[in-house]
Symmetry: C2
Subunit: 466 residues, 2 copies
């Protein structure tokens, strides 16, 4: 694949436009060369123009020993932002290499959501140690409270830095307050209006604030249509709400209804990407993105799904075993049976994938499951008939045996019909049982299509051909 080094230069990054992305293959190679020469000056020069996100990507791409060398030579390049951008597995290795005080210092300038992202996957003792080294006590308490919310919840995603003001304040007061207060969030897009119980009652987008004259009160320009997110909301639902209502930021409230944080869209973009990827990976039996993991962990992570698959394959084999006598009389059946099973598996996977995504995007619910089921049954039947004719024709011509063709065709219709039905039934039932449909549905489905495929084909053959 990397047969010609010079060609690499000519090929842009995957679909990338020059200049859109800071990190190029050539740069990675230059960095690696500088690391091998232990040339700290050259290294610094190479990474100086990079965005923190690109430095994070660069560190991810380095091999273990190069990575250690990088941290040795350029530990000041590892800012809090770089740590926040970096992938979990890699981050842990880096934090282990850095001093606790250095890590605490690096993350002390981050907003709480980023501090939480850096700390949440560390071992509890290490987490505690870094927390204790944080210079600001208020930060520490905030981070600890955020960490008390469940993983992947709104409480972990939110930042505690936000501006909330009473409704009777004027635009002028608000602007003066923002000019004087040093302790504002790094970046914000709206201010929240709260009542005396600190419950959010409205929001004023900054452009609205800028366009209004100074004596106007916030209550007169605030939008009251709020999408308030309880802190224990799952991040998948947070992503859904942002996507559904085109939000830029949203207020997060504790159990008492008090405003305790704000979630901004940049974090949600990561969530949406993560959740969609989770579905992709789960559908093909990968636990998570494992590209930066070592071979042994990767093999271990994929093992369970392969084991489950082995069990279902053995089950399918057992069906075939029951027909050993039939196959013994007609070897053609052994030749053709994988076709029927494979087509059912593929047709079912198509339905399954659409159903899993439709459940995730709330396009499929109990209100329309009935209708979609009817449709998928018809789709299965239609394609079943078409492929029955095609496959039956091929089989009949190949073995010059019309009856064999009919049997193949009949089995094909049965299996593709069943595939369409179970491709929908399985994820919907799993979802009602509150099991993630993406995780288990694929295995269950191919078990069904393999078993039905072999059973229908060999069974029909036993009845009509021998």
């Amino acid at each position: 694949m990397t047969d010609g080094a010079p060609k690499i230069e000519a090929l842009p990054q995957a679909g990338g436009e020059e200049g859109l992305y800071g990190l190029t293959s050539a740069l990675v190679r230059a960095v690696r060369a500088a690391l091998h020469r232990a040339d700290a000056g050259e290294l610094r020069e190479l990474i100086a123009p990079l965005h923190d996100a690109d430095i994070a990507d660069l560190i991810e791409r380095l091999r273990g020993d190069d990575r250690e060398q990088f941290i040795d030579l350029a530990s000041d390049a590892v800012s809090g932002e770089v740590l926040a951008f970096i992938e979990d597995d890699v981050r842990e290795a880096i934090i282990n290499q850095l001093d606790t005080s250095k890590v605490a210092e690096a993350i002390s300038d981050l907003d709480t959501d980023d501090v939480v992202a850096v700390l949440e996957d560390l071992d509890p003792p290490q987490q505690r140690e870094i927390l204790e080294a944080l210079p600001d006590q208020a930060d520490r308490a905030g981070v600890q409270e955020s960490l008390s919310y469940p993983e992947n919840s709104a409480g972990r995603l939110m930042q505690r830095e936000f501006i909330s003001l009473p409704a009777f304040w004027t635009v002028g007061q608000t602007i003066d307050f923002m000019r004087e207060d040093e302790d504002l969030p790094d970046d914000f897009y709206e201010i929240f209006v709260v009542n005396p119980r600190q419950e959010p009652i409205g929001t004023v987008r900054l452009n609205r604030l800028l366009r209004s004259s100074r004596p106007i009160r916030l209550r007169d320009i605030m939008e009251q249509e709020l999408h308030i997110i309880p802190a224990d909301t799952d991040q998948e639902d947070v992503g859904f709400v942002f996507d559904q209502y085109d939000l830029i930021s949203a207020p997060v409230v504790g159990v008492s209804g008090r405003l305790i944080g704000v979630i901004t869209v940049d974090d949600v973009l990561d969530v949406v990407q993560e959740e969609a990827e989770e579905d992709i990976f789960r559908l093909s039996g990968v636990q998570e993105a494992d590209i930066y993991r070592a071979a042994l962990q990767t093999a271990g992570g994929r093992f369970i799904w392969l084991l489950v698959n082995l069990a279902t394959a053995i089950l399918a084999s057992f069906v075939i075993y029951q027909f050993s006598g039939t196959i013994d009389q007609m070897v053609a059946l052994a030749v053709l049976m994988p076709i029927v099973a494979s087509m059912g598996g593929n047709a079912g996977t198509q339905t399954l994938t659409v159903a899993v995504r439709a459940i995730a995007t709330k396009d499929l619910s109990l209100a329309n499951a009935h209708r979609v089921f009817g449709k998928e049954t018809i789709v299965g039947l239609l394609n079943g008939i078409v492929f029955a004719v095609l496959t039956g024709g091929v089989a009949a011509a190949w073995y010059e045996d019309t009856a064999l063709g009919y049997v193949v065709g009949g089995a094909m219709i049965i299996n593709m019909l069943v595939a369409g039905m179970f491709g929908l039934i399985i994820p919907v039932v799993l979802w009602r049982l509150r099991i993630d449909p993406a995780t288990a549905a694929g295995v269950l489905l191919t078990t069904v299509t393999d078993v039905i495929g072999f059973l229908a084909f060999l069974g029909l053959a036993g009845m009509f051909l021998l």
Copy 2:
């Protein structure tokens, strides 16, 4: 699946928190009942509290005739925003039902990106008709220019409503300008600083503007680190840049380098979701989300991939056919051979899925393809050995034949090793050939694992067992 209607009430929307999402199953049913009674008053009352995005979802969920009835009874609820939120296939049906002048009026208040989204999938004559009915000529020209950019490009995603000012303007001038100018974008998060050639040279986020005192010049507070997007950039790359650099909005330039538009993160959220879904769907051979399509179109859309799969299944059958004599002597081979093929297919799909996503997120490039290849080979070998022992053991015990166990095990190692290697090689080669790896890789891979699986198993059996 919908065996007990009363239970539906008790079950919340998929993973949903009450109140986060406006549209409930109960509401959909109430709307349907109102439509059947042709009760326009009741209908209006039901949809009055809904967000435009929820009205769009509601219309999507209605069956064809209910949908027509809805438009008849409540056409004024179909605002420009509702049209922009609605899914393509459904939107077309609605626009056909509405008067051209009504559509033009509804979309005339939208920003250009939303107008483009509404119009881009219509037939050219219909598109032209609606464009000509747009009240504002400047809008019309802007939309037409946006439509001249390729589908799924930055030029289609951007809105032409933005604020660009020269660097010598002061904060005070800028704020006064925004208070006086009526013709501002609906919503914006930063203003762009341009040079006399109208090229973007910096950006000032609104919170920065608010916090600075009036006499300060924009040049002194602008950020110069810009992520400038050429208008012909593919939307996948736009999504990548927003995600990578946590952008809220980004300037879009034409070929001359002039600032012609701005892309905001809410549109990018849709893109990121869409692109990840595209990968999911392509990996399982579905062209696109087809849940709202009629059965016949759905069946047609999935047909091609099933046809390709049939061809590869027949190819695999042909391999088995070559060993008809071998199987005839030992039926156990027919019973066990699907296990070897299935395990290879699954292991390969795991690698393939990780590779396809890593290419999309730029975590896999030519710079590290070598290393990942080495890793996947080791992973394939490791799991191959584990499953060789397991499957070989089961086979030997089942048929009380140790030699058969060794043959199954040997074939398993070969196939899982090949699966790991080709699970990476196939997507990387396709990507270098500029073919979408998600579309074709799955079929190619299962062809390889089926052929190698059957060939290795039956070949080894022919050599050592007979």
